[in-house]
Amino acid sequence: MPDLYSSSSSSSSSSTNTTAADNPPVILFDTQEKEEQVVLLLRRHWVTNLPWIALAILMFFAPWALKFFPLFDFLPANYQTMAGVIWYLLVIAFIYEQFLSWYFNVYIVTDERVIDYDFYNLLYKDVTDADLPKVQDVSVKMGGVAQVLFNYGDVFIETAGAIPNIEFDKVSNPTRVAKVIHELRDQLNKEPL
C-alpha cells in the first residue's frame, strides 16, 4: 500500500527516476471520465503516520502502567475489566480512523486534471479539482529534517479564475510530481483544439 503510484504508460514519468510501484491498481473515482487515465495517485508520505503510530503503541501499553500506579483499584473487579475492554475499543477506533484518514486523503493527477480528495474526518469530505490547462503555476515546498531525509514535501498548484488553489500535502518526491504536472499541462496546451 505505497503512498505513490505512477502509471507506467505515462511518457512523462518514464523519463524520471521513481521509487513508486510501476503497476498502479485499477483506480476509479466517482467523477472519472471514460477516457480519463490516472497518471499519479498520491498520499501523504508514510513517515507522516509515525506520530500517531507511536501514540497508538503508547495507548496500547498504557494499561500496564496501572500495575505501578493503581489509580482504578477503588473500582469493583467487573468495572475494571470493562474499563480495559472499552479502552482497547477506543484504541482500535483511533488506529482505524487515523489509517482511513491517510488512506482516503488522496491526490490524483490524470491526463486531464488534478483532483484533491480530502476526508477531514468521518463526517466531512471535500473534493477539489482543476483542469490541467487552467494550472498556472506549480511550486514545491520542502523544509525540515524529516522532509529532506525522506524526500517529501508540499506541492502547490495555482489555478486560473475562481477555482481554488490545490495543495498536495507532504507527498513523496514533490519535485517529480511538479515536473509531471508541468509536462502534462504543456502537452495538453500544445494539442490542437
Binding site: M1, P25, V26, I27, L28, F29, D30, L41, P76, N78, Y79, T81, M82, V85, I86, L89, I92, A93, Y96, E97, L100, Y103, F104, V106, Y117, F119, L122, L123, K125, V127
Partner: protein, 78 residues
Amino acid sequence: MTLDTLFNFIFNINIWIIAKVLVCFSLLIYLVFAGIMVRQVNLMTESIKLGWDWVLKIVALMHLLVAILVFLSALFIL
C-alpha cells in the same frame, strides 16, 4: 413524600447503578459512532476504488460487531 423519605431515597441510591447507566449510555453513543463509521467507509469506497475496499469494509463491520458485544457485555457484567 416527606422530606425525610426524599433524603432516604437520595442517600440509598447505589452509586454503581448510576455508573452502569452512564457506561451503557456512553457505549450506546459509541455504537452510533461505529455505525456511522461503517456507512462512511462505504461512501468513501464508492467515491474512490483503490483495490482494498473489501478489507476496509470488513474491518469496519468487525468494529461495529465488537462495539455491540461490548455494549451487551456491559449490560450483563456490570
